[in-house]
Amino acid sequence: MSQTQQEPVKQLQAAVEPTSQPTGPTKAPSRKQRSKKPAHHDGIAVRAVSWKLRLRRDKQMLLMMIPGVIFLALFFYIPILGNVIAFQDYQPFLGITGSDWVGVQNFFDLYFNPDFWVALRNTIVLAVWQLLLFFPVPLGLALIVDSLISTRIRRWFQSLVYLPHFLSWVLVIALFQQVLGGAGLVNNSLRDLGLDTIPFMTNPDTFPLLATIQLVWKDAGWAMIIFLASLAAIDGSLYEAAAADGAGRWRRMWHITLPGLRSIIVLLLILRIGDILSVGFEQFLLQHDAVGPGAAEVLDTFTYFAGVVGGGWSMGAAAGLAKGVVGALLIFAANKFAHKMGEPGIFQKKVG
């Protein structure tokens, strides 16, 4: 009761007084603090409110950060420190504190481990396939969808091609097996016709192509969404003017559409290059047995099999750490390169 009576009075005070108060750097101090003395420094009102005041003012906001910060600590920053076992001879029963330090021995072991090089080679081969086959597909799809006049067909088609993105990799591989597998639809039909079956799903030689097709099937539609957004952002009057000047559809695409998409293409290319060592984990783990490690072993599955399955914890962690560090460096390098090309890139000096 008393609170409600006080409300208008305090509001009034707040309305009358604020000129005498220094405002915080960005957020005005809340009602409670208005009666406090402003922070002064050499007679000049300092922009920053003292940290005690800010702590009191932002108490609830800070409380809100706690769950997220706990999560980040437990499942990101402490595990990152756990990477020190890459420099140890980690024994599970001794723990991190009890295991011996071996310096960079694990990285030497990796260097002399042929399986690691197979995994690295497969990763790069798959990445190149993905770059060549997967990267252009969403762009082409977006151009086709953008050229559809009928909004009904357009909406239906969009809804349909986004769908596979939300299916799990297990499901995608299962669907591929049912259609292309040894006992799948296609091979069953071939057998009925008296023809030889084709081992789509188990042939290591064609595996990179298969894996890329799976990726295209699953994610090309979803990747299109971002191109569509940039296409929609291109000023329509540019097209109209070009058409009035006699530019045909191909010229308009070359001189208006593609330049309009330049930034986003560069951005996605950088992201892809920075991510080149992560070609996908579940997809390859799931097909590891069917195709064999010769073709389906990538860096991530190597980490899993060497570390968790084989018990070579430290070597697995070394492979994972090397991959993570190289990946982060690649992103920085690619971003720098984008700046050189005059594109904004992923992040500038100022984040957020």
């Binding site: 509001q11 906001m61 999560f71 499942f75 595990p79 990477n83 596979p164 939300f166 299962a174």
Partner: protein
Amino acid sequence: MTTTIHERRTAKRQAKGLTFNPSRPVWKEPASPLYNAIKAVIIGGITLSIVLPILLVVSTSIADDDQLIAAGGFVLWPTHPTFAAYQAIFSGEFMFRALGVSAFITAVGTFLALFVTITMAYATSRPVMFGRPVLLLVLFTLLFAPGLIPMFLMVKQLGLLNSVWSLILPGTFAAFNFVVMRSFFMNIPVELIEAARIDGASDFMILRKIVLPLSKAVIAVVGLFYAVSFWNAFFNAMLYINDQTLYPVQLVLRNYVVQGGSMAEAIGVTSAPPPQSMQMAIVVIALLPILLVYPFLQKHFNKGVITGAIKG
């Protein structure tokens, strides 16, 4: 001459006997039959490649034995639909448990994830103490990943191995969803929040009474993203769970369909329907929730909730 392109084109079209489509921009040339044919083939092909496998799986799962044998294992349209395969799968406790585990992970996980993401995104969307360093802490997770083995050791250290919480807790925050959420919150007019503050609302109250009601769309999208990712996760379970009774649906799918393990044995059925239809039935069980939720999910795509955030 004062004739515009529009008039010239319309005249040309009328001369050719073509009808005019009002939603076609006036400056666009009439579509040539060849382009249209190519486009139709591409779109038709893609549509088929997505619809066909799903139809195949659903139909085969409910086809009866006779038709399956006659068709050689696959059916595109069941003539006598039967749910024998589903009955067989659900005759033991095994699949019920798997569904229960998946449902629990998805429900609890989504709730927790939304809680963590919303609070974090709101707190860093306003200029508050520690806002920027915490934001940087989050954004750094986009650049680097701790790696599989340290994560495993951490989960082990926390004593979560062989517990459903190992499938929930590590997934309760995703930086991408955080970015989507935060950029939505940043677009809420500051005046609304300041007005509420002047009226004496605390930050909790502002979040609950002002920000959340305005953010239903983004919460729906992010919530569904989380739900889908919890439902779809299988590797976590493979890594952290040994106990068969705690297997989620995706791991069952992997073990008995992708790896081709004998399901009848695991479930404890003696007179099983053809393994083909049982496998398909499991695929359908994993697929169905996604298909059901998907219309709600995609309703929000075109509102720019996601693309707006990506660009920002």
